[in-house]
C-alpha cells in the first residue's frame, strides 16, 4: 500500500538526521551536511561521505540561531543553525555552504566560529553563462580535493563515476513522478511527491531507492484523484514541509507540479558517468541546471519553464511561496507578477511564509478564495489574475 510506505517516508524525514543516516554513521562512515543545490551530492559521495541536505525540521525554537543571526535572517537558516548549535546534527563530519544567498553565507560563519564542524565553502557564480563555468568547476575541484583529503580517500574519476551512477539511480526513480502527477487523475499528491524528493536528499541512496521502489510499485495500483476543483503548480523558495503542501491541497485542489528546490527542481538531467572528465560533467549539469532565483539574468528562462510546466500539468494556476526575507525570490515574485499583468500569464497566488509554521486557517482561506476565483473564472471563461504580497 502506498500509504504505509509514505508513512514510513514521512516518519523518516521528520528528523533532521533520519535513523538510516545514524546507521550509516555508526558503521564508521562520514556524513557531510550541505546547503544548496549547487553543491553536488556526487562530490560528497565520491569522497566517501554521505551527503545530507541540511533542514530545520524538528526545530521548535530558533532562538540559538536568533541569538547569533538576529531575527532578520530567514527562518529556514535560523532553524537549521539552531539545530546545529543544539547538537542535533551531531553526525556531521563536515558541512558545505555556498554563497547561495546572504543567509547561507552567515550560516557558514556560524559553522566556522561557533561549532567544531569544519565548513567548506563553494562560491557559485551568480550567472549561468559559459564564461563563468570555469570558475565554478575550479571551486568544485577544490571542494572534491578537500573532502577527499579530509576523509582520507583518493580523488579518483572512478569514485566520481560510481557516485554519478548512484545519484542517477535516485533521480531515475524521481523522474517517474511527473507523469503520475500530471495525469488527468493524479496518482499522488504534491505533499507526497515532496516527501519522496526530500527523502532522496536525506537518506542513504540504498535506503531511499528501496523505499522509492516500494512506493512506485504501490502507486501503480492506486486509483487516481478524481474531481479536482483545481490543479496547481507550486513554485518559490525553500520548502521542505509536506504539511504545508497538504494544507494547500486541503480545499479539493492538488499540486500537480512544482519547481521547489527540495522538490522537482532537485532532479537534474542525467549526467554521463563515462564522460572523459566526470567532475566536469557533474559541474556542467549542476551549473546549467534549472536555475535558482539567485542567478542573475536567468529570469526569462525561469519564467518560460513555469509557463511550460503549467501547460504540461494542465494547471489552473500557480502558487508562489516565499520565505520572509528572501531577496532573490522577491525579484522573481515581482517579475512574475509583471509578466502576468503584461502578457496574461496565469492565475497567481502569492504567499509569504515562515519556516516550520503552517498557518492552516489562513492558508486554507487564501487557497479556498483562489480556488473559488478559478472556478468562477472557469465558469465565466475569462482569465483572472491575483497579485500582491500576503
Amino acid at each position: 500500500m502506498p500509504d504505509a510506505t509514505l508513512q514510513s517516508i514521512l516518519a523518516l524525514i521528520q528528523e533532521p538526521v533520519p535513523q538510516p543516516v545514524r546507521d550509516w554513521k555508526s558503521n564508521g562512515q562520514p556524513v557531510v551536511g550541505y546547503f544548496c543545490q549547487y553543491v553536488p551530492q556526487e562530490l560528497i559521495l565520491a569522497s566517501g561521505a554521505l551527503p545530507l541536505r541540511l533542514r530545520g525540521v524538528g526545530s521548535d525554537d530558533p532562538s540559538l540561531g536568533d541569538a547569533l543571526m538576529s531575527g532578520r535572517v530567514c527562518t529556514f537558516v535560523r532553524h537549521v543553525m539552531s539545530l546545529v548549535l543544539d547538537g542535533r546534527y551531531d553526525v556531521l563530519d563536515a558541512a558545505v555552504c555556498a554563497n547561495t544567498c546572504d543567509h547561507v553565507r552567515r550560516a557558514a560563519d556560524v559553522f566556522t566560529h561557533k561549532t567544531d564542524i569544519p565548513c567548506e565553502f563553494v562560491s557559485v557564480p551568480r550567472s549561468p553563462r559559459e564564461s563563468l563555468f570555469a570558475y565554478y568547476l575550479e571551486e568544485l575541484r577544490n571542494l572534491h580535493a578537500s573532502l577527499c583529503t579530509r576523509f582520507g580517500t583518493a580523488p579518483t574519476d572512478d569514485a566520481l563515476r560510481d557516485a554519478i551512477r548512484t545519484i542517477e539511480s535516485n533521480r531515475q526513480r524521481l523522474r517517474a513522478l511527473p507523469p503520475l502527477r500530471q495525469h488527468q487523475a493524479p496518482k499522488l499528491t504534491g505533499a507526497e511527491s515532496l516527501a519522496l524528493h526530500i527523502a532522496s536528499q536525506v537518506l542513504p541512496p540504498k535506503d531511499f531507492q528501496s523505499l522509492a521502489d516500494e512506493l512506485l510499485e504501490a502507486l501503480e495500483r492506486r486509483p487516481g484523484f478524481e474531481d479536482l476543483r483545481a490543479r496547481f503548480v507550486l513554485i518559490g523558495a525553500e520548502l521542505d514541509d509536506p504539511g504545508y503542501v497538504r494544507a494547500l491541497e486541503s480545499q479539493g485542489a492538488l499540486v500537480v507540479g512544482d519547481q521547489l528546490c527540495f522538490g522537482a527542481r532537485s532532479v537534474l538531467p542525467p549526467i554521463d558517468p563515462d564522460a572523459q572528465d566526470p567532475l566536469e560533467a557533474i559541474a556542467r549539469t549542476y551549473f546549467f541546471r534549472h536555475s535558482c532565483a539567485r542567478m542573475m539574468g536567468d529570469f526569462p528562462a525561469r519564467y518560460e519553464s513555469i509557463v511550460k510546466l503549467v501547460d504540461d500539468c494542465r494547471a489552473d494556476g500557480v502558487i508562489f511561496q516565499r520565505l520572509m526575507f528572501c531577496d532573490p525570490w522577491g525579484a522573481d515574485h515581482h517579475n512574475i507578477l509583471l509578466r502576468c499583468k503584461n502578457v496574461g500569464g496565469f492565475p497567481f497566488l502569492s504567499l509569504t511564509r515562515e519556516y516550520g509554521i503552517v498557518p492552516t486557517g489562513q492558508l486554507r482561506t487564501r487557497v479556498q478564495a483562489f480556488v473559488e476565483r478559478i472556478e468562477i473564472a472557469r465558469a465565466q471563461a475569462t482569465p483572472i489574475q491575483e497579485g500582491g504580497e500576503s
Binding site: 532578520r72 529570469f299 526575507f325 531577496d327
Partner: protein
C-alpha cells in the same frame, strides 16, 4: 525617448532641479563648506549632462550601486545611470515624500516589503518611468542579495540587454582576475549596445581621474583621523555616492579634492563648531533620511563620526594604467576590495569585523554604532559574531534597527534618542573612568 522638457514635467525631476540651487545658495553661507558645495555642483552638472544626453539621443547605461562608473565614462558620450540615483537624491535633499512614494510603488508592484529600501527606490523610480530608457543594463551581485533582486527587476523593466557581473565570495587575486575577465567581456557588450567604441587611451584618462579621486579620498580620510574632527560628520558617507556616480569623471576628482581641501583647511585653522566629547565608528548604514541628525549628534552630544562603512575606502592600490589588462584588473580590484559595502558585505564576517577594528583604532574612536538597516540581512546575520568581537575588544557598541531610506520604520527622533542614551549613559561615563 522622451525629451528633457517632457521629463521635467515629472514632479520628481522638477523638484530635484528646483532644490539644487536653493541648497547651493544655502550652503554658500559657509564659504568653507567646499565638500557639500561640490557635491551639489557635481549633482547639478550630472543632471544637466543627463538631460542634454536625453535631448541629443545619447545612450544611457543603467546599473546598480555595487558597480563603478569608469567603464561607462570611457565609452565617451554615454550617460551612466545608477538606478537608485533619483530616489537617493530625493532622500538626501530632503524630499522624503517623493522617495517614500517610490518605495510604496515598488511594494505595490510586487517587491516584498522586507527587501531593501534602496532597491525599492530604484524599482519605484523605474516603474514611474522617470529614467531615460537604457541602451543596456549592467548588474553586479554586490554588496548583497537585495542588489541581486534589484538587478533582476532592472533587467526585466529596462527592456534592454542585461550583463550580469559575478563577484565571488573571496578577496584574493583569483577573485580579482575573475572579475577583470568579466569586465573584459563587458566591453564588447557595452560597445555593441551603445554603438560607441571604448578607446583605451580614453580609458587610461578615465582611470587616471579615478586614481586622482582615490588618492584624494585616502588623504581626506587621513585628515579625518585628527582629534578633534574639524569637518562635519555627515560628509563621510559621500565616498560611496562618489564612487558609484562620479569616479572616472572630472566631477569625481573635484568632489574628492573639495572634501580634502575642506578638512585640511578647517583642521589647520583649528575650526571647531562643537566640543568633541566622543568619537564613533558608524557601522552599517547612514541616516540618509536626515543627514542633519549628525549635526545634532555633534552639537547636542559632542559626538563625531570621523568615518563610517560607506566612507571608508580601503587602500588596495591604484589602477595600473600601463596596459588595458592592468587597467581592467585595477578596476576589478576596486569593485572587489575597495568599493564600500561590496568589500565588507559580500563575504564572510572576517573582513567586516577586521575593517571595523581597524577603523576604530586608526580613527581613535570611543565606540561603535551599528545602525542596522532592517534589510541588511547579511549584517544582521553576523550580528552575534560582531557583538562578540566588540565585547572581546572592549568596544562599547550600540545596536539598533532602522531603515536608511524610510523614516516610517524608525522615526529619526527615536534614532537620536538611542544614540543620545548610549553616548550619555555608556560612552561618556566609561571614557571618564579612563
Amino acid at each position: 525617448m522622451r525629451s528633457s522638457t517632457q521629463m521635467l514635467r515629472e514632479p520628481a525631476w522638477r523638484e530635484l532641479l528646483e532644490a539644487l540651487p536653493v541648497l547651493q545658495t544655502f550652503f554658500d553661507g559657509d564659504p568653507h563648506s567646499y565638500g557639500i558645495q561640490s557635491l551639489l555642483r557635481c549633482v547639478t552638472s550630472y543632471t544637466n549632462d543627463a538631460f542634454a544626453a536625453v535631448d541629443n539621443g545619447k545612450p544611457f547605461v543603467w546599473y546598480n550601486l555595487g558597480f563603478n562608473s569608469e567603464l561607462i565614462y570611457a565609452l565617451g558620450d554615454v550617460c551612466p545611470l545608477p538606478i537608485e540615483s533619483l530616489g537617493v537624491l530625493h532622500n538626501l535633499l530632503g524630499s522624503l515624500d517623493r522617495s517614500m512614494e517610490f518605495i510604496d510603488t515598488a511594494v505595490a508592484t510586487g517587491v516584498p516589503s522586507d527587501c531593501c529600501s534602496a532597491d525599492k527606490l530604484a524599482v519605484g523610480a523605474i516603474h514611474k518611468n522617470l529614467y531615460p530608457m537604457p541602451a543596456c543594463t549592467v548588474g553586479i551581485n554586490t554588496p548583497c542579495d537585495s542588489q541581486v533582486m534589484a538587478t533582476q527587476v532592472m533587467a526585466e523593466l529596462g527592456q534592454a540587454p542585461f550583463f550580469p557581473i559575478d563577484v565571488p565570495y573571496y578577496h584574493d587575486d583569483r577573485t580579482v582576475r575573475h572579475v577583470a575577465a568579466q569586465l573584459r567581456e563587458l566591453i564588447p557588450f557595452l560597445e555593441r549596445h551603445t554603438q560607441r567604441r571604448l578607446d583605451f587611451d580614453r580609458l587610461r584618462y578615465v582611470c587616471e581621474l579615478s586614481n586622482q579621486t582615490t588618492e584624494a579620498i585616502w588623504e581626506w580620510l587621513e585628515w579625518r583621523k585628527n582629534v578633534p574632527l574639524a569637518q562635519s560628520s555627515k560628509l563621510v558617507a559621500f565616498t560611496l555616492v562618489l564612487q558609484i556616480l562620479f569616479t572616472g569623471h572630472r566631477n569625481g576628482v573635484e568632489l574628492a579634492q573639495a572634501l580634502l581641501r575642506e578638512v585640511k583647511e578647517r583642521t589647520v585653522r583649528g575650526e571647531h563648531f562643537y566640543e568633541e566629547r566622543a568619537r564613533a565608528i558608524w557601522y552599517q548604514d547612514p541616516v540618509w533620511t536626515d543627514m542633519q541628525i549628525y549635526d545634532w549628534f555633534e552639537q547636542d552630544l559632542g559626538l563625531s563620526v570621523p568615518v563610517d562603512v560607506f566612507g571608508f575606502y580601503a587602500q588596495d592600490g591604484l589602477i595600473d594604467t600601463r596596459t588595458p589588462d592592468t587597467m581592467l584588473e585595477g578596476l576589478a580590484r576596486k569593485l572587489v576590495n575597495c568599493h564600500p559595502m561590496a568589500r565588507q558585505f559580500r563575504s564572510d564576517m572576517g573582513v567586516y569585523i577586521r575593517d571595523f577594528m581597524h577603523m576604530h583604532e586608526a580613527w581613535q574612536a570611543d565606540c561603535g554604532i551599528f545602525a542596522g538597516h532592517i534589510a541588511c540581512k547579511h549584517a544582521w546575520g553576523g550580528i552575534g559574531l560582531f557583538k562578540e568581537a566588540c565585547r572581546k575588544a572592549g568596544i562599547p557598541l550600540l545596536v539598533f534597527e532602522f531603515d536608511m531610506f524610510d523614516p516610517r520604520i524608525t522615526p529619526n527622533d527615536e534614532v537620536f534618542f538611542q544614540v543620545e542614551r548610549f553616548v550619555n549613559e555608556v560612552v561618556l561615563p566609561r571614557k571618564a573612568r579612563g
